[in-house]
């Protein structure tokens, strides 16, 4: 009997996160002050993040020790299994060897707790009593709720109103772990009250929710804010995924030729691929890493590399990134976690330097890939995860055409238990595709008055 799962024991949980900044040939350009356009230092972040995380944000150290208390909570669901997708290989009739790292085993159902747990830890270390954040569909909010519960920190989640009303299950999950979940816009903040005064029935947006969460964080010394992707320290924490996978491939006596992960802000992709890219830097390996993004939000494949705001409202420092423009509004696709206008600065620089690749897929293709996967491998993937699957299937089919065997690894970053209504839309033929025109992208980018690079 062939073994499907390559498992590690809890004592194999990596002791260090890998910081790719130390190995990058070209370091990311500095963030700029939006007013002066001058580079700004890490101190600008102190009102909203604890020092422990700010230090990681700018660290040049190659290896960063994972605190024991964090590793201890990681054992709630880590190490996660590495699966060999024998059934999918058979269905595709491909000579490729396909593996996937399954992060959906976390109690929150995705990879997000990998960073939520250390973020809560470093806040706790500095005496923080409450963490605020925003959430769209709720994946990040539930991961942070879970983490705060473990460190006995209050968690206040501003959930976009329309999701709050339409997707109550994620809200209940956050409540179960003790978080306070408010529909955004709320009347708890000045930002929220201002919106509500104009439109009491506002459906909200991620931008408004961010404003509310940050407003609450800056006005109280013992409250901080947390972000679930994009930033360097978030990418760093996610490298636990690739570090584990590397050990699992050693056990399998194999090594990926191609690594694939869905791309929203970058942490999912970075988490799996960076520890393998290290082998390219150190040993001259030629492992390819492909970021899979939605065709409706194609910052990597059709965006511009320039300075832009990290948020949609224009409150953050200017960051050097691939962007569609911070005013770009992606079509309302079901993979909510990938509807972000820009890419984190590290990933952007790597793409600029051609050290990684990117590929886009439309929504119908992704759901088709997800169903093919579910019928072969039993797990029903999150819509975000379907993007990685779509790329993996393309690469496996290419192996068949070319008659070569390559080893493909992708990140199955979460299950779809809270996304079954998207599958219903797909099955009932209600899913439509919006072909994004050059004019639409140009229009959003041409509005920017931020520095080009």
């Amino acid at each position: 009997m062939k073994e499907r799962k390559i498992l590690l024991s809890e004592k194999d949980i990596p002791e260090k996160w890998y910081n790719i900044m130390a190995d990058m040939p070209n370091k990311p350009l500095p963030p700029l002050n939006p007013a002066t356009k001058e580079p700004i230092g890490p101190e600008a972040l102190t009102p909203i993040f604890p020092m422990g995380l700010i230090q990681q944000e700018v660290s040049a150290e190659k290896w960063i020790q994972i605190p024991d208390a964090v590793r201890d909570i990681y054992t709630v669901y880590r190490p996660t299994p590495l699966y060999r997708a024998y059934n999918l290989e058979k269905v595709l009739d491909t000579p490729a060897k396909i593996y996937y790292k399954y992060e959906g085993v976390s109690p929150a159902g995705s990879h997000k707790p990998n960073t939520a747990i250390p973020q809560a830890y470093y806040n706790k270390q500095e005496g923080i009593k409450k963490i605020t954040t925003e959430t769209g569909a709720g994946q990040w909010g539930s991961a942070l709720a879970l983490a705060c519960n473990y460190f006995d920190i209050a968690c206040e989640v501003y959930m976009v109103r329309i999701s709050y009303d339409q997707k109550p299950y994620r809200k209940m999950m956050m409540n179960a772990w003790g978080a306070d979940v408010l529909p955004s816009p709320s009347d708890r903040t000045a930002a929220g009250r201002q919106i509500l005064a104009k439109d009491p029935n506002s459906p909200g947006s991620l931008g408004i929710a961010i404003s509310e969460a940050i407003e609450m964080a800056v006005q109280d010394e013992t409250t901080k804010y947390a972000l679930g992707s994009v930033l360097n320290h978030v990418l760093l924490h996610q490298t636990i995924v690739g570090q584990e996978a590397l050990k699992q491939f050693e056990i399998a006596g194999d090594l990926p030729d191609i690594i694939i992960a869905p791309f929203g802000g970058g942490s999912n992709f970075a988490g799996l691929s960076f520890p393998f890219l290290r082998l390219n830097f150190e040993e001259g390996k030629k492992i390819r890493a492909i970021a899979s993004e939605p065709a409706s939000c194609p910052k990597l494949t059709r965006g511009q590399f320039r300075y832009d705001f990290g948020d949609t409202v224009g409150m953050t420092p200017l960051l050097p990134m691939y962007t569609l423009g911070h005013n770009f509004i992606p079509a309302p696709i079901h993979a909510g976690g990938l509807r972000y206008h820009g890419a984190g600065v590290i990933v952007s620089q790597l793409l600029k330097d051609k050290l990684i690749e990117a590929r886009s897929h439309n929504q119908l293709e992704c759901f088709e890939a997800g169903i093919k996967f579910a019928k072969a491998e039993a797990i029903i993937p999150a819509p975000e995860a379907n993007h990685g699957i779509a790329t993996a299937i393309q690469e496996a089919e290419k192996c068949k055409e070319e008659g070569v065997s390559r080893t493909i690894l992708f990140n199955l970053c979460g299950h779809g238990h809270f996304d079954m209504s998207s599958y219903e839309s797909y099955f009932s033929g209600k899913l439509t595709e919006h072909e994004l025109t050059e004019a639409e992208i140009h229009s959003s980018l041409s509005e920017l008055d931020t520095p080009t690079i």
Copy 2:
């Protein structure tokens, strides 16, 4: 760092199921023909079940080999982890050692695939092309859909209309695995059409859905029917759970004093406890096994041991069981999987012989226990699983009162991802408790004209 999870590798998946019938001091009484009241043999079951399963239903063999093809599909999610609940122990401040076996890691989210997979296998062996079944909230239906997908057998699920309309996520899950899901009553069967003619808006019931599924099975030689609990072969398949747990306790160098599992028809409870009860029979151990049932459907704690129908319509042979009467209609509690009027014959005989125990819990107590567990151990349990947790917490608190340490094991049979609306009812204070009176139970039992024992 203490290890939370005791893991086995795929090659440790047990090779045999344990058949407790071989060890029982008093074997269950035979099923009776409802018309003649004479004992009936296994041949009565041939129109609806394949011979491979009927042989298991009446087998006196102590060990039954698990086919390699079944073990191979078990590897999709098995072995499941055994957790030591360090956090829960700490919250309860108890000297007890608490362990739980987590069956929610299966792609269908519960222990049900443990029997769905072999049932599909034995049907496939006999050339069966389609399996029909009924489902309420959808746990059993999705497990069977998953299993049939793997053996390329068509799966036709009659889903109680009101659940079909109100809980569409489970239906989508079944569709994702290729099953055909019909709201019951449907116009595909005579039974369904008859109901619809009287009431086109009938909300359906489990009884009607069973009638429809069996009707479709008996009229076609290549179609059979499948049941998810109660029957001996179903209990047998579930012993994979306890067999694994036994190996995991060997690794832990421990042995449970008390084993606890939720009780609906008996397979959940039997699966975890029977392999440990074997040690009582063989080695004179005194391991206690407690079945946790809802106070609103208390067949074990307040029912009568007598012959009754296994279904609510009166189509099955008469079975010797603890029952509340097949016409008993339990309050609409959220643990839909436990709303069954009777107990399987093996478990009933064991209770009659005082070889196992039973305890009931009301719904609010169960949700309170579930939230306590979720905050301590991160996993959000299914409402059914909360019953086992409630008993485990009681026993742990008793250890504290008595100042003794006992080892407690319970079956965390599934996650609550598809049940978050029940948690919403709980949080919003909408959950009410129906105190079942003696008169209500008496009224349902006094209607029976089946043989007493």
